[in-house]
Symmetry: C2
Subunit: 409 residues, 2 copies
Amino acid sequence: MATINGNYDKLAAGYLFPEIAKRAKAYSMKNPGTKLLKLGIGNSTEPLAPTVVAGLKLGADKLAKAETYTGYGDEQGDARLRKAIAAQYAKLGADVADNEVFVSDGAKPDVGNIQSIFSADCVVAVQDPAYPVYVDTNVIAGRGGKFDAAGGCYDRLVYMPCTEDNGFFPEVPKQKVDLIYICSPNNPTGAVATKEQLAKFVEYARKNKAVIIFDAAYSQYISDPKLPRSIYEVPGAKECAIEINSFSKSAGFTGVRLGWTIVPMACVCENAPAGKLNGMWNRRQCTFFNGASNIVQEGGLAALSEQGQKECKETIDYYMENAKVIREGFTAIGLKVYGGINAPYLWVKTPKGIKSWEFFDILLTQAHVVTTPGAGFGPHGEGFMRVSAFGHRLDITEAVESVKKNLKV
Amino acid sequence: MATINGNYDKLAAGYLFPEIAKRAKAYSMKNPGTKLLKLGIGNSTEPLAPTVVAGLKLGADKLAKAETYTGYGDEQGDARLRKAIAAQYAKLGADVADNEVFVSDGAKPDVGNIQSIFSADCVVAVQDPAYPVYVDTNVIAGRGGKFDAAGGCYDRLVYMPCTEDNGFFPEVPKQKVDLIYICSPNNPTGAVATKEQLAKFVEYARKNKAVIIFDAAYSQYISDPKLPRSIYEVPGAKECAIEINSFSKSAGFTGVRLGWTIVPMACVCENAPAGKLNGMWNRRQCTFFNGASNIVQEGGLAALSEQGQKECKETIDYYMENAKVIREGFTAIGLKVYGGINAPYLWVKTPKGIKSWEFFDILLTQAHVVTTPGAGFGPHGEGFMRVSAFGHRLDITEAVESVKKNLKV
């Protein structure tokens, strides 16, 4: 008599974005002919760079000929791509070896799967608000405990509040925790940690033999040279931090699927000496994964070429100009706006203490604009909305103008 | 103090194929200039069909233009591809709905991840020998128990012997088990289950509320019209079976990465009514996965077109002709050969009761041929070698001739 993994039933609600899509669709059904303006899901909209498209086609062409056809690749990724990724870290002054790089089909799967190499007993700390995948994957793995509907928290997770008072980057936990998820530039708040702030977490982790899971998926949106793009810019971080990154937002690969995880040889925990965690992640990937698509990896290589980087940067600049349009438009009507300077997300405070989902409905019905309720990212997201700078300029401008013209609260 | 998932340390040995690669590499290093002839890893070698290459390039081209660019797709897969896959089942007389199809980046990840929706208490039955991923992923999830090095078995797993006596397809377990992995056409033995044999497992599963995980990755290699290509050709199977399949061997996508899993709405277990398992797998994929590459899915759609199917069939026929060459060559020197008729694998009995790894070394050193030791697939694989029909014709012929000429036992 097969029985189910009961942890799935502990999940508090449907995954945030499908829920938003459902509400938006329901509104459209009731109001046919109304054009919905999207400032919601963090989904890239601009075409791939020409150099990247050429790389992808090269990948397809190689498979068309017997002499260049390749089947299964290394589960860890194409050696050329691992090397190219490691070289990106060198530019930041961070020392990452090729065999510490594991190429994957995106940051989300890696963020979800990395917890599987750790004990189910580990106490997990997350930023609050946080990307729901950190929470949900740990709940499914049995680290969540019970969900307290009133407080909006799982009782075994440690929530690190990110608030206006602390500039949306938390203090280190007062209690002992084992796995710490940090996302910088942050999804959803758009806040970026300074080196000093990360150094405190590195110090905490080394002292407590905790491991930091550092999600750097938006690092290419940092323009301020003083802000760290990798946690490995902080001395000692290789001993306690795993870093995950992606081509999704840096090269428009949201649908193309490519990412990577760095598990440093030096990274240790209570019962894992140097090399052990690297070997475990290697085993995990060799057992559950069969490598990222060879075509897609060829595209990734092209994206990391000098010309590819130049072209991708133009698209990033385009999105960041969108962010500026949103910021200025929303500020003009008195909304309080955070983020959006070194990150593609803006964190908008709802007026008059209106709840997130209520403000979602107000923006939807009054301005026909779809945003993302901050409460969907954790209790301390309540009273905020995540607004995304991903979109065509005209659509962004239209949405901002609609909010300016139609919002009445 | 973070601690590791101790189940990783229970894994008996490195994953089979990296181990073979290591031994072959070591031999090459010691014998520079010796050309190794590969009959080992089940890796496609022939170029993609022209129609499929065109589909992949169409996928890349769409991303080059703002009007056709797409970002995140549905985690469950492109609606067109889900529909096309469901239509393939209709041709077999099996009734699969679009929302029972979940597109993924390959059969291996799905085979590995599907167990996560079931309780860690479930008792798992595997064919012996079996594809190592069934065993290893369950060991990592805590269902393996202890490894008995002498017997080569994990004490919590139930092994279903596949032997010469039963034609390499097992009887249903005598004890109660909860999850049953069946692979047909089988990797490694090349045996194909009849409808009657599958019907016995379906009957067992329904009676015991067990769930069958049916791996049909080689179904396109079945030419005998009487043999089932899907477990859903057996009445009642939708109530108890999840089926996993792939484009890897049917369209040469080993490196391109595309597969799918069918979780029927009707599929139930002890504490999961109709629809529940389908919903859980949906939640799993929405939380840990971000969809298969949009470019790759466009290639998959092309592969399922009428012209695509015709072209892919030519490559399958080519590999099956290889199988014939191997079968005839090996039989000519007195080796006993099974499989290779409706499957791309041949299951070769070692002469004189020589152990698998010993015969691996004999073939490597005498004939410079790399094969796969049967013992790597489980205790009942001992005394056999898996020989793969994937390869260029000239390489296959050269390897077979080398064995015929050089093997001395």
